[in-house]
Structures are given as C-alpha cells and as structure tokens.
Symmetry: D2
Subunit: 306 residues, 4 copies
C-alpha cells in the first residue's frame, strides 16, 4: 500500500502546476501549491501515508460533514424538516435555488445547507466552535487540533455572500439565531487545521458503521453512517458530484483548502490534499489521485468486484 500511494503521488504530481490555489481570502491564497499528501486509514487500524501527509491545511468544507454528523447526533431526524438531501445542480454558493425553493437548502453540503446545520447546532451548544473542535479532536484522536483564528477572522471579513444566504433564510423563517454569531461558528469550523492523517482517522467511523475505533465512540448508527455516505456520494463535491461518482465511485467531500476525504465502506477512510484547485473548486491532483487509488484497490462502490 505504502508503495502504491507513493507511485500514485508521483503520477499526479505534474497536475500541481495546472490548478489554482483558492483566492477568496488572503490566508488561503498564500498556500504553496506544490504540496501533495495522502493518508489511508484501514479498518484493521493500519495507517499508510505518503507525501505531505502530516502538513496541516484548512479543512474548509470538509467540516460540513462533521457539522452534519453533530447535528444528526444531537437533533436527529428533525433536521430534515429544515433542509433536504438532494443534489443541487447549482454552484455551492448560489442564491437562485434558495430563493425559488423558499429558503430550504437542497442539501447540507452547499453553503446554505451548511449554514442551516450550523444554525441548528448553534441552538444546541453554548460554545459551538469549541464543541466542534473537541468533537473533531476525539474523532481524529488528536488533542492538538485547533482552528486557525487568522483564517476564521479573514473569512468572517469576507462573509458577504454567506451573510446574504443566512439573511435570505431568515426572511423565509428558516434561520433562527443571530446571523453574525452563526457565521462566526461556521468559519471557525471551516478554519480547523488538520493534516491528511487527522482527516483520514477522523472519518474512520463512516467506513465502520458509525463506530470510531480510536475513541470507542458510537458516533452514528450503522444506518445513519450509510445515509451520510449516501449524501456525500450525491452531493459531496460541489457541482462535480457526478464526475466524482463516475471516476472515483466513492462517497467523498472536498474543501477549497484542497483536501478531499473519501470513504470505502467497510474498508478504508482516505484523505488526499493538494491546494491547487480545478474550475469546480476541487483539488485537481486530489481527484486524480483518488481515481487511481480507487482503480488499484477496486474501491468504487459501483463496481461488481469488492
């Protein structure tokens, strides 16, 4: 496995120069694009990694999965009265669909949906950012994970579009807490700084019927874990979900920090990271690396050979 990961990284490295690092906040725009790492956590407890697997990066939208899981945990099925789990077919930060569908986001992985999830959690936790940080620390088995306050603050300064979404949902009665307070929590989640190993370990429970092997925590029921995987499979990669299913065939979630997490149910949780993005905002080398890895391990959930 170790050798395979190294081979795959070598093969995709030429793509690093073809993507572009996220520009929308200064803290992300300064990241060196020539970084590439991968970590694979297998359910028997083994960890394999290659490249910059221990370099921390901003997990950004990968945090939306943690938020969703926290909301399912604490608020249960009720959350689905506030949003759906259908692919949106629109850009991740579009307001058009949100207005047409009267403030009910299509799914928890577009920004509007993630904001509703944060609004739900805001009503449950006294200190949402700290609760999330501690939750992620337990899942990843790493008590030193922190949120990068410079990144969080910078995102807050550039919050205009997310604020527009939150206010529009407020207008439709689907947002209950103070907009700025929820945005602050949201950006603290996005700014969590983790490395590939942290993320791969942090998602192990989704490959393992909801049980986190490190913390011994039953995070979700087996059925809930399967459902979160289903939502990742149909909506996890912005407007490239179909492409990711076609090429990689795994439940996954990407972030504009360049990380992508993928789950091979019953077998692996994987994190690849490379900050240079394609036009859809997904790590260019990351998607290719996962495609190669999925082929090598016959990982696609749509393949007849397990």
């Amino acid at each position: 496995m170790q050798d395979m990961l190294q081979e795959i990284l070598d093969q995709v490295r030429p793509l690093l120069s073809q993507g572009q690092v996220a520009q929308y906040i200064p803290a992300l725009a300064q990241v060196d694009p020539n970084q590439l790492g991968i970590a694979v956590h297998s359910l028997d407890g083994q960890l394999h990694c290659a490249g910059d697997a221990y370099t921390p990066f901003s997990i950004q939208s990968i945090s939306k999965v943690f938020s969703l899981v926290q909301a399912i945990n604490h608020s249960g099925e009720d959350i689905w009265s506030r949003l759906g789990y259908e692919p949106s077919g629109q850009a991740f930060n579009s307001l058009v669909q949100l207005e047409v569908e009267k403030g009910r986001p299509r799914n928890p992985f577009i920004n509007a949906g993630a904001l509703v999830i944060c609004d739900i959690n805001q009503s449950r936790f006294a200190t949402p950012a700290l609760s999330m940080r501690d939750f992620v620390r337990r899942l990843a088995g790493n008590p030193r994970i922190v949120s990068d306050t410079v990144v969080a603050e910078s995102e807050y300064q550039h919050r205009a579009r997310n604020a527009a979404m939150a206010w529009l949902m407020t207008a439709f009665g689907n947002f209950h807490n103070d907009v700025d307070a929820v945005l602050s929590s949201y950006f603290h989640h996005c700014a969590l700084s983790m490395n590939c190993v942290d993320v791969a370990r942090g998602f192990a429970f989704l490959a393992n019927s909801g049980y986190c092997p490190h913390s011994g925590e039953h995070v979700l029921s087996a059925r809930q874990a399967q459902q979160v995987n289903a939502i990742m499979a149909t909506s996890g990669l912005y407007d490239e979900a179909g492409n990711f299913a076609y090429r990689v065939g795994l439940p996954g979630k990407s972030g504009v920090g360049g990380g992508i997490v993928a789950v091979v149910p019953g077998r692996y949780s994987i994190c690849v990271w490379s900050p240079a993005l394609n036009a859809s905002g997904n790590s260019l080398a990351g998607i290719r690396a996962l495609e190669l890895l999925s082929e090598r391990i016959t990982g696609s959930v749509f393949s007849a050979v397990p």
Copy 2:
C-alpha cells in the same frame, strides 16, 4: 428470498392507493393501479419473484439506460462531448437549464439527455427502434419483447415538450437528425413492454461487470458498467436521486410506467413495478419495497457490511 419478497410486497401494498398512475397519455392512465410485482436476479443465475412479476408494463424511462449502453457500445467516450453526467437538480423535462447551459444536457437520464443519446444512436442505426428492441431481447433473454405501438403513437401525439427540447438543442447545434424521426425512435424505446423478470434479467450485466450471463455478451467493460451504475446512482430517479441514495443506496432507474430497476453490484439486479406514482413521478410502493429489500439484504453500496 422468495418469502422475503412476498413479505415485502405485503408490507408495501397499502401504498398502492396513495399514489397516482401517470396521466399524460391515455394508454398509461388506464393501467390498473392495484398491481405490484418484483423480480430479483442473482448472479449465480437464480431468479426470485413475487406478485405480478410476469405482467408486462411500459418501461418508459428505464429504456434510457439501454439507450445509453447502446450509445457507449457504438460511439464510445465521444458521447460525453454532447452531454454530461452530473445530476441536474431540475425537473426531468425542464428547458430552463438546457437554455442556460446552451443545449448541452446535464446527464443521459433527463429527457433532453436521453434525446441526445437517441440522436447519437439515430446516426448509427438504419432502424433504431428495431436495433434497440433486438438489443433488449438479447439482454433479457426473451425474444418475444415488443414495443407497444399504441403507447408509442400516443406519446408521439403528445410530443410537444420533447419536441421543444429537441428543437432547442437543434438551435444550439447539439441535435443532428430530423426531430420527428428521433422522437419516433425515442417513444418506441419508451413503449417497450416488459415484465419485472425481463427487466431484472436485462440489467444483470450491470451487476456483473458488463457481462450478460444469458446471452454470453460482453456488453460493456467492467469499468464502463461501473460508470453506468455511477450515473444511475447520481441521476437515475429524476429529482429524487438523493432520496433514493439515502433510503435505498443502490444505482437505479425509474420510469413513469411505475417500474424501477436497481443494481446491487456483484450480487443482484432487481426490478419492482407498481404503477401508482409519487409526486416526483416514481413508483411509490416501488421505492418503499426497494428500501425494505435493501435493508434486509444489506444491499446499500454505502453500507460497511457487504
């Protein structure tokens, strides 16, 4: 298995009265809503069925998968220059997205995409309707399958919206053959009359790495079969793809005739049929039956337990 299927049908039968049979053409509107059948074809060659599994029904949009497979077979990867494989996030017969995206349909399972696929096949076959019929006969191992000309003719009479789509794509240069000729082929495919057993057997190759056990035909490569499954998983159930993934967790395709086909890669191909539809145009009892079956056999591709 046989008993399980019978139990599942008994459990979902109360839903029959809650849906509504498709109304848009007279021939479909007259179908008795109190019909329910299921067939499961396993890769070891066994067939299990229950209820009205041998009653023929109009496969309608299920035919879009056969058309896509035929196009991949005869025109290869080139077809993806004409359409995509992303979920649409819009109603299956919407023109809005088609205009905004300049005549390039999002995927082969919305009507616009299926029409482009038929246009591609129209350029390849002298008698597209007959070629398709013979292809389906081979896949299902049933030489008596025919297209119901009354249904096909009625759909042609009500072709206005599909004609609008085809003409719009013509305007964008993404439709090459005579609109009426392609529509005629398309409706003949939709009007194929098959029963649950036919459809389950006809999709066996997608559960079996592209190899059809009855005909001995290598219909697709293993990778192509996996890709078609991926497209079904993200776009197969109109605007309920996310719901189907969440509840059932299988690649699937539905038709307004009330049939739904689902694939458990490496294990089964399944067809359930019940003509009463939900608001999204999918068989109400059919989805519930597949949800129960998927749970009982731990079929979801997103589950950690195979």
Copy 3:
C-alpha cells in the same frame, strides 16, 4: 375638476373591499382599508382634492423617486455605473436576477436598486435620513413632514430580505457602506408620513421640467426630469409597469402603503391613496382611479390628443 375627482372616487369606492392591506409589518397591517383620497396639483398652482386627501400615510416605495432624484442631484450620471434603468421583469424583491447579473440592479425602483441608491447617498450625507426629510419638506412645501419611527423601526426588525440583497451586492463589490446603517436610512425614507396633497405637490417639479414652483428650486434639469419620468414609466409599478402604461399611460410610482403618484408632463402631478392592494402590491382602487382620471383629462402620454 373638483367634481370630477369626487365622481371618480365614488366610482372606485366599491374596489376598497376587494384588495388587501399590506401585511408584512404590523404598523401597516393595522391601517383602515376604507380610506381613499386624491390630490391633483396643476402647474398653474391650483390644487384640487377629494376624499381623504389630507390623511397622512406611509409613502414607502414612493420614496425611491426622492432618493433617486437626490442621488442624481449630488452624484450625477456616475450613479448609472452602479445600476441600470431597464424594467426587471421580476418581483421587486427578487434575488435571482441580482445574482445572475452579478450584483448590478436593473433599475432604481426595485428594492436592490433603491438600496444601491441609498448606499450612494449614504456616502454623501452625514445624516441621510434628515437630509432626505428636509429635501422632501422643501419639495412638498410642508415643514411638518416627518418619518414615522415606529414604522421605520418595525421595517428594520423585518429587514431580513433587504439585508440579504445588500449583503449580496456587498459580495459583488457594489455596496460600500455598512449594511445596517444604509438599511436604517432606507427604512426612514420609506416611513415618511405624507398625505396626498404633500405628495402631489412634492412631485410637481417632475411635471415642470425639474423646477419646483413652491420652493423655487431647480431640482433637476429639464432633461433629467424627463429621464426620471421615463424610468417611472417603464419601472415604476413593480411588475405591473406594462399594465399601468396600457391602462393609465403616465409615469408613476407606487408604494405598499397604498399611495400612487403620477405625472402628466407639462400639466399635473397627481397622488391617489387607498391602502387596499392588488396581488402585485399596488393600490387596487388607486390604479382604477388614475385610469379614469387619465381618460377624462386625456392624460396618457401615448395619446395623440394632448
């Protein structure tokens, strides 16, 4: 004229029971729907009125014309780099078009456009709400006009949708001041409490080549006055501009408080008020009264007989 106005009011009075008072803020929802007034100011200085012409009402969107005129006065042609003067074809508070057109509102009379205008004025005036109040007092020749702070405060509490628009424009770089500060100014303008006589007199300059006879102020040049009239004619009545042109044929502007102002260039400025609205948010009896009046005085600018 006096008799004619009385006859017209008598004729439209039955419509009062068919509309509905604006519901979106409590202060407006409590207004008695059985009120109806009209005032006609002619350029020779005569004033004719009938009904509740001296009862103050909330001018609401009629204030958008005053804001526009103030912006033209103080910022000139530059304002058109920030917004357009085309009819929108969308609801007055829609975000769809605003997103598609990248934060540039179609015209100054939809909410987004009025907010941009207020943002422009906010950069010019130390105390925008007071400057506007004083400007309106001068135009109407009534030093006792005030903004109703209860209404303004209530609108601020219900600001969510307008806040969403302002934030979206901020995201596109087309909004420069603090969102809440501009919204506060905006709602103070909307909450100006004026009666039909005030409004008719306040708009006299638009019928008079930009010259206000009471204050002796050259508010706008003749060409600018003509241009403001043109914008009112194509965009002044929400999504009923075409209907108003067809039936009344005059530049006009309506507000959800039930007021409508209309200009007969070279002859009259008119204000009618009745709080019961039609489905488009315009005074039901008000439109009909203006239609009758326009016919009686051959007022339509599209008529061959002056």
Copy 4:
C-alpha cells in the same frame, strides 16, 4: 426639418462602423452596413427624408406591431387571455421565462408573444401571409410591397429556436395551429421588404388616434392606438426598452434588419434604418439618430414641453 434630418445623419454616420450586421441568416448577413436612412411623416401629410430612405430592408420584428394590430382588429380583447403586456426583462428569444410562466408570453414583442399572435391570426385568415401583406400595403399606401421569399425561406431553415418556443407553448396548450404553418406565416411577415418611407407612412395611424390618413381606414380606436403605443414604449426594443425610454422617450419598435420605427403621438411617425446593430440587436446609429431627433423636436412623451 429636411436639413435637420441631414445633419442628424451626418452626426451619427461614424457609428455605422461600430455595430455589426445581424448574422443569424445568410440573407441578412450580406447587407452592406454602410447604409443609413430616415423618414419622418407628419400628421399634416408632409414627408421628410434623408439618406437611404428609399432603399428597402427587411422589417423583421417591426412586423410584430402589424401582427398585433391585425389581431386586435380581428380578435379584440380576447387576445390578452393568451399573452400579457408586461416587459419581459429577458432576451427576446428566451425560453426560461416561457417555461416558468407556463407558456404564456409576457408581451407581443418577444418572439414567443409574436408567435402566439401569429397563431391567433392563423386561425382567422385563410392565407395569413397574403392578408398581412395586403394590410401593410394599405397602411403604407404602397401596393408594391412584397415579402422577400429568399429571406423567409432562409429564416424557416433556421427556425429551430422559434420552433422550440412554439412547441413549448403547444405543450402548455397555448398554441393551437400547426407549428410549421404558423412559423411559415411568421417568417413571411418578418421578411416584408419596406423602405423608411413605407414604414413611416405605415405607422402614421398610431400617431393619429388609429386613423390612417392615406387609406382612410379607421385601423384602431383612439384608445387602442394609445394602448399599442404603450406596449411599444415598455416592450418595443428587446431588453433596451428602458434605455430607449430614457434616451429617446418615444413608443418604438426595432427589428434585426436595422429598422426602428418611433411614434410621436399627435405629431409624427418616424422610421430610421441602419443595419449595423448594437449588442442588444438594435440599430446602433438608429437609436442615436432618434435620440438626437427627439431632442431637437422635444419629442419625448415624458417631457413637459410639447
């Protein structure tokens, strides 16, 4: 007047090289862009013209006004159950709005609306193209006006987008005749070949309370003429209606052949022609010429000085 027209043409002539001749059919693409003509018909029967005022051009969408008038004449108010008279806010050939609004076009001057009008007329006339030609000949007082069959045939060959609209309206039950037959009539109207003098004379009745001075025909009632002018003022120049009102201030209608007709109620009917178009599909020099002329004669209907 003669001198003034010549001066205006001289002033706008530099714009000829900045626009682009319509490209969508070969017959129009070959027109020499260096042509420019103007004709002004005054109600006292005088005719003034300058430049290429006697060179025939394809009137294209200007014909939509003749069609509308013919429909009002023969089918009366009933036509407004099939379409509206609100500005569309969308491109003239967009299908988005048509789908959202369920097949009811916003106004008679976008293509969808003009097609509905032609569908209405198709039900009234045995030979719609000939009836229209004869109607136009009478209005213009020129019995030699013909439709250019090469242009009409070429437009028919490129009918795809208009066909899409007609089929979509058929799907919504708002189109009753054979699509191809109505399109054929429509393109024959568009292909009417007239010069500036013909068009200016042909629109005299709209400046004259519906009475055509040459033919002695009461084409419309005074109120109907005023209403048609109102629709031209709000919807006559594609998505530049607001700009035309702002700059010119007259009811008008443009065509992609480069003609623009404008009406000064009670005074003049005007036609300017220059085939080089701006980005909105309107004659670049034509709009500027009308702006200058309107200023010189204080023509704007929004001006206080008649």
